[in-house]
Symmetry: C2
Subunit: 249 residues, 2 copies
């Protein structure tokens, strides 16, 4: 158990100095902004990060029950023996109020984190795999452009098949849905308006939902199976090949 006045002083100095604060204690939480929420008293973990983002975590579950993003303004004060923390931001106007009635643990650390984060096997990697090895779509396929802008949004990949016909490709890293098929058709319509001829339409994804498959058949949308993991393997193999070609150079 830590005294309220002592806690206020430490939290204030930690926020000013840009240290990460963790508080474990009994607290109530109110939020008002895009929505309105109220969480009655219980024991939780409160984190104030070095960019003044705030997280309230209950003892279970991945998601914070309440939060406030970086850059918000934080006020801390005592009121009737309780510790009050209020975080506000203006755009959108949002307010998070935490009333702490008992502090079980409090710590603050200035953390240095220059680490690099790398992530693979995303939709971007699937696109790169198609660019690196267009034959995974079909023999004779060539990429013309990626992220081509249309009035309906950005086309993942625009290509040409061996007979010179345009191919509009929509990539999904998970099961493609009916909405994805409709989005592809919108892109296709834009391309037809621009080039005067109907392009082939193709979904590239690990799988199609049953509704999407039905809709795809009706609308003449083709499907090529590709998983993010397989795309990753292709890129890794290519990278190895490139290294070999360089060293042979």
């Amino acid at each position: 158990m830590i005294g309220i006045d002592e806690a206020i002083a430490e939290i204030k100095s930690a926020i000013t100095a840009g240290r990460l604060v963790t508080i474990i204690g009994e607290m109530e939480v109110f939020y008002e902004g895009r929505s309105i929420s109220w969480l009655s008293s219980g024991e939780r973990l409160l984190v104030i990060k070095q960019d003044r983002s705030v997280l309230v975590h209950r003892p279970t579950g991945y998601e914070p029950t309440n939060w406030q993003p970086a850059g918000s303004h934080i006020d801390v004060w005592g009121e009737e023996g309780k510790l009050v923390i209020v975080s506000k931001r203006t755009s959108p106007p949002e307010m998070l109020k935490i009333i702490i009635t008992r502090v079980l643990s409090l710590s603050s650390f200035g953390l240095r984190d220059e680490g690099e984060f790398q992530i693979h096997a995303r939709e971007e990697d699937m696109k790169q795999a198609i660019i690196a090895e267009p034959s995974i779509i079909e023999d004779g396929f060539r990429v013309v452009e990626s992220e081509r802008k249309t009035k309906s949004g950005y086309i993942d990949v625009l290509g040409v098949d061996r007979e010179g016909r345009l191919v509009v490709i929509e990539i999904k890293r998970e099961s493609a849905d009916i909405g994805d098929v409709e989005q592809l058709v919108r892109y296709s319509t834009q391309i037809e308006e621009e080039f005067g001829s109907k392009p082939r339409q193709m979904i590239v994804a690990p799988r199609l939902s049953s509704r999407a498959a039905r809709k795809a058949r009706i609308l003449g949308v083709e499907f090529r199976q590709l998983s993010p993991r397989k795309a990753q393997e292709i890129l890794r193999r290519r990278k190895g090949l490139d290294r070999f070609l360089c060293s042979a150079d």
Copy 2:
């Protein structure tokens, strides 16, 4: 600074006892599963919750860089003076490996949290507001059913206008998009198949995107403006009215 052996013992006993663990220290993080990621060494906050969910937070930002959801299996051991924590789950197969090289702080608490969480001004509240006060749609409008099942999904609200014509309503708490208009048309098609006559189609949302507005005009989809906050006010007013009616009773 806390010794590795001491830390291992405390973490193991805390996980077994179902206590919430927070570790601040220098760590590397690897993830493999639906994707693959690698985060090089840096000072971070690691949280192991009482349901064995795991969160790795860098000193800034709302989101954890890496995580594992509840119910995963956690192993803890020492290796070359380092603390290794591995969390695995089978469906989908995912693995999170955290290698801690320096422990700055470690705490574990068995937290009691029976608090109730209430949230308002969501899409559900907008639906309840329409049910409570159908005239916000238009004079003479009546609700027939909510969450009516069709082959294309669940219709938010199905109603009848003053002339007895069916109205299919799709509610959005934010700006309605072209995809939402298309979803509404799918529902409408199902209703037409079932009842033999074309229903009115209506989007209820704070606003329509310009693309959605164009599509709506073409497809004969109507738009009624309603914000989640206004819906909340209607419900609050109604609730007050109900209380008055009860006390007068």
